[in-house]
């Protein structure tokens, strides 16, 4: 089992999104094998079970269900994507408890917020919103995520400020915050040192650059080398004044008391760097077929030869003096009829596409609506609509339910409760007679 599973995992790495906490390998195997079979009913059933649990849960910790649901979704849909429905799920989970003060500093809730922020296009906006709503104010993970976002954008000053704020707000656990802050400082100082060293050094820039059009074999009789100067992913960070964690500083740093090993630099120091050589002569023309000098083509007439070798001069083009007869029915063929008439399609989808809206905007609207409702309830406003059904329950999950589905869940729960005591008291006839 392990053999086959391993191979499968190796073959579909590109379909697995990295997770910060890593993945359970057995769940991953299962998820990948299910993908090949298409959407399986087991996954659908599990999803439905979570959805119904969201609705019929009546304990004192509703966040727990959401938390488990999100974690299950992450593990079950390793490729992310639309069918996982994760963005919707996270958004619902986050909006669900905006009013619940007790969750605002719950590590699980803050974690959901951070996951939500990371899939948004503007994470900083979300973090600022969280701060304004006092969500995660005393959680170290919030400040760490926020700071990392700044760092990613190359703004180390703001990144540092975020940590300061975390300390001011006494975020817990303090050790973790301290540790991450130190790591940030180390990265920034190393970066500063590197840039300074680069300025100091007289040599031409150490900056890695992609060397194109050089031979893989070095010229001359020296041993063959391959240029190892690669354009790193870290290049972008470098230019913005930050280097990703763990990236070694170039050995040119003279200020440091020890030499840091640099895999990029190492071999280059042994062998001479490939140089740009000026070409003495243009490269020889390889056997190119039909090589022709560029020239104007539009008024060139190719001389045509007849079978007998005489040149044929085409007769000058003149308009015929008569009208060629065209049969009436002989019209040029019309264009092939377009099968999908765009006008019809817009007719079938009646609703206009909604305006572009960001998750943050929706969040704010949601809050705004809630406040409005409260106001209206207190004021007793004008004509307002009241839905005569449990709308919250139908739409509280990531997918909608209908009355019958909701009722089916209640029914199943009731049946489970009825059969369990029946079995324990060994009196199954009692449950039967009720029908």
């Amino acid at each position: 089992m392990a053999e086959g599973g391993d191979a499968e995992w190796e073959l579909s790495k590109e379909n697995i999104q990295p997770l910060k906490r890593g993945r359970d390998i057995s769940v991953l195997h299962q998820a990948l094998s299910q993908q090949q079979d298409g959407p399986s009913s087991a996954v659908c059933q599990q999803k439905q079970a979570f959805e119904s649990e969201l609705r019929i849960y009546n304990g004192d910790d509703p966040l727990d269900v959401w938390d488990r649901y999100v974690k299950w979704t992450e593990q079950t849909f390793p490729q992310g994507g639309k069918e996982s429905n994760l963005p919707v799920l996270l958004e619902r989970a986050v909006t669900q408890f905006t009013e619940e003060k007790k969750y605002h500093n719950d590590p699980r809730y803050v974690d959901l917020w951070i996951k939500f922020a990371k899939i948004c296009s503007e994470p900083l906006e979300i973090y600022r919103y969280m701060q304004a709503q006092r969500v995660g104010g005393s959680q170290a993970s919030f400040y760490i995520a926020w700071s990392e976002e700044y760092e990613r954008l190359g703004n180390s000053r703001e990144a540092d400020k975020v940590y300061q704020e975390g300390f001011n707000n006494c975020a817990e656990p303090r050790d973790k915050l301290l540790q991450y802050h130190k790591a940030l400082q180390a990265r920034v100082s190393r970066q500063v040192m590197t840039t300074m060293a680069e300025k100091d050094s007289d040599e031409e820039s150490n900056e890695p650059e992609r060397l194109s059009l050089v031979d893989l074999k070095h010229r001359g009789k020296k041993k063959a080398i391959v240029p190892v100067n690669r354009a790193q992913a870290a290049l972008g960070h470098n230019s913005r004044g930050l280097q990703s964690q763990g990236a070694p500083a170039p050995s040119g740093a003279k200020n440091s008391c020890f030499v840091v090993f640099d895999e990029n630099k190492g071999p280059a120091a042994v062998t001479s760097e490939p140089k740009w050589e000026s070409w003495a002569a243009p490269p020889p023309v390889r056997a190119k077929e039909n090589a022709q000098k560029p020239e104007k083509w539009c008024d060139v007439k190719m001389a045509q030869k007849s079978r007998f070798g005489h040149k044929i001069v085409p007769p000058p083009l003149t308009k015929p003096t008569f009208q060629p007869y065209v049969e009436e029915s002989d019209e040029p063929p019309r264009m092939t009829p377009c099968k999908i008439n765009s006008a019809v399609n817009t007719v079938l989808s009646a609703r206009k596409p909604r305006l572009e809206e960001t998750p943050l905007k929706r969040l704010q609207e949601h809050r705004h609506l809630q406040q409005q409702q409260q106001q209206q309830e207190t004021q007793g406003g004008k004509l307002q609509e009241k839905n005569m059904y449990c709308k919250e329950l139908l739409f509280s999950g990531a997918t909608e339910f209908c009355f019958e589905e909701l009722r089916a869940e209640r029914y199943r729960k009731k049946m489970a409760q009825e059969t369990q005591p029946g079995q324990s008291s060994a009196d199954p006839t009692n449950t039967e007679t009720e029908f």
Binding site: S41, C44, Q45, Q48, N341, A343, V344, V347, L348, S349, A350, R351, K382, L383, Q384, E385, K386, N387, M388, Y389, C390, L393, L394, T399, E400, C402, F403, E404, E405, L406, R407, A408, R410, Y411, R412, F435
Partner: protein
């Protein structure tokens, strides 16, 4: 409550009624499926229950195949056919999740079931056996048959039109023209369109022909709303049933009212008195002389105490159902 033109059926189901269906040949027989796990056959003229059979779980829908065979499915995900003459059950097949709708298409001679497992399955009623499974984009909430067209309403406010003679591809993918969850779809008897009702007091009339001129005729209107103390209470519209000959239709809402509409002239023809609780299902008899009205609370507002579930049989006149 019940006048001379209306009476309540005796020996009614003991739990919420999920569907009422008249026999295709006569106004004498009525099938009633219920959350009490039974399907009952009533002799409407004699006001008595002829027989009942059980599923292991609540039944969500039932349909006549011919006057002597009923088909039904529900939470146990099993599709059953029952011979009403010999009182014998046959399990035809199963879905992966509860079966929400069961319909019969006489033109193609096929039974159609829709389920929360996101699929529609066709069944050959003669053998009887499965004749194909067709995946839908979401859970199936309602479906209706118009000649060889199958109209499926799913979660996510989607409407799909299939050709029952060629189920290889979807004929039309539509979005419901109503903003909220689809409750019920029923096809016009003239097979040219369908009426669609939503969970928030609205009904839309749509046409199958995708041409621009025809599509211009579609419309939607508000209904089943009650004003109380300056607040408009919006009720779900749970049931639609078409009158077989007049092309008019009845709608039933959770407000307990039944309205009859003339879709061509865009007029309400009449409104009956308020029934004790939500209207869960409606059915006109094949000749259009009777209307079966299931008044049954569907737990739209939670598991609370409610009036008794009942089926009312109402004699309707042309004055009530014929366009003026």
């Amino acid at each position: 409550m019940t006048g001379c033109n209306e009476y309540k059926l005796n020996q009614g189901p003991e739990d919420t009624i999920s569907a009422v269906k008249f026999s295709p040949s006569t106004a004498q027989f009525l099938l009633v499926s219920s959350w009490d796990c039974t399907v009952r056959l009533y002799d409407v003229a004699a006001n008595s229950m002829r027989m009942k059979y059980k599923h292991s779980d609540p039944v969500l829908d039932c349909a006549f195949y011919d006057p002597t065979h009923s088909w039904s499915g529900g939470l146990d995900a099993q599709l059953k056919t029952h011979d009403l003459n010999t009182d014998q059950d046959t399990i035809v097949g199963t879905h992966d999740a509860p079966i929400r709708c069961v319909e019969y298409c006489p033109e193609v001679n096929v039974m159609v079931t829709g389920s929360w497992d996101r699929s529609v399955r066709l069944w050959d009623p003669r053998t009887p056996c499965n004749a194909g499974t067709f995946t839908q984009p979401d859970k199936v909430y309602t479906l209706s048959v118009a000649r060889d067209r199958l109209i499926v309403g799913t979660a996510g406010r989607r409407v799909l039109v299939w050709d029952l003679r060629n189920m290889g591809y979807v004929l039309q993918r539509r979005e419901s023209s109503l903003k909220y969850q689809t409750r019920c779809i029923r096809a016009f008897p003239n097979k040219q369109g369908f009426a669609l009702s939503s969970i928030e007091g609205r009904v839309a009339v749509e046409y199958l022909d995708p041409s621009l001129e025809v599509q211009k005729k579609k419309y939607a209107f508000k209904c089943h709303r009650l004003k109380e103390n300056g607040i408009e209470h919006v009720y779900p519209v749970n049931a639609i049933s078409f009158h077989g000959t007049h092309n008019t239709f009845a709608t039933g809402g959770s407000d307990g009212f039944v309205n009859i509409w003339d879709p061509l002239n865009k007029k309400r023809l009449c409104q009956f008195h308020r029934y004790p609780t939500s209207i869960a299902s409606l059915a006109f008899s094949n000749d259009g002389s009777l209307l079966a009205i299931a008044s049954s609370y569907m737990q739209e507002q939670g598991d609370i105490s409610h009036p008794e579930d009942a089926v009312f049989i109402r004699q309707v006149t042309d004055a009530e159902t014929k366009p003026k």
